[in-house]
Subunit: 154 residues, 2 copies
């Protein structure tokens, strides 16, 4: 397995994201990896990431799904081109749309596992579906439509 | 205008949410209000809430939309019953689904204005649509399906 996370390949300029930038010390710094044809990340919420006491805040869940899926989109785009991540030119994706269905309250205090499935890679667009689980139970499902980063953001 | 925000009426037990709990010192503590038949909140992102340099993190946008819409759902439910917020029994909503379309990059460094529109109040469900603007330009649109909080979370 590649020990470097997708996000570790992002260029320095593009590594300040609150959700996944390795250079954002206040951020969540999520790390995503391949597992066969799927992708995954593991995240441990902090006590402050509460919704109601005992449960994880839905905005945090949306944030993890968002960054995991845009990272997965980048990885899938490299793979579709038969290239290793980190090779030039860089492929970096942003979110066009984000959808999350909250199936049940997500308990706080345990690791959350997000698994991503690449649904479509077409032109500048990649669609990624995700599940978020706690204690082996799926608590939320998400879908992200990711698009190649516009030039103006580079 | 009622100077108290929707979230100021939440009971103490339900005021720890990372997005809108007045008792969460590390949280975003967003505050939502009526403006006629619409609702609004104004939020100033911090420097750490970056996506790419110069732009606001999409997960933060999702978080603000989420909490603004669940707060709006509670306010709309009280209004539909002809009751003032804060009267018993309390009405508190959680997110069943969240959808955000990111229309353009959202500039960081300016106030964000989210306006909510109550689309449906039916039984335990309230649907709220939202726009998020920066410098008077709509940068994102969202929709939340909110449901009365399950007893288990009380």
């Amino acid at each position: 397995m590649d020990k470097k996370a997708f996000q570790d390949y992002y260029t320095e300029d593009h590594s300040h994201c609150y959700g996944c930038g390795r250079l954002n010390p206040q951020g969540l710094r999520i790390k995503s990896y391949w597992d066969g044809d799927e992708t995954f990340t593991v995240f441990q919420p902090q006590a402050c990431h509460t919704a109601m006491p005992g449960y994880v805040y839905g905005g945090l869940i949306a944030s993890i799904v968002d960054c995991h899926c845009t990272g997965s989109a980048a990885a899938a785009a490299y793979r579709a081109e038969g290239r290793d991540m980190g090779t030039e030119p860089p492929l970096r994706f942003v979110t066009a749309s984000l959808h999350v269905d909250y199936l049940r309250p997500t308990p706080i205090g345990v690791e959350l596992v997000v698994r991503g499935k690449i649904m479509e890679v077409k032109g500048r667009k990649v669609v990624v579906a995700a599940t978020l689980s706690a204690n082996g139970e799926v608590c939320a499902k998400g879908q992200v439509v990711a698009v190649r980063m516009p030039e103006q953001m580079g």
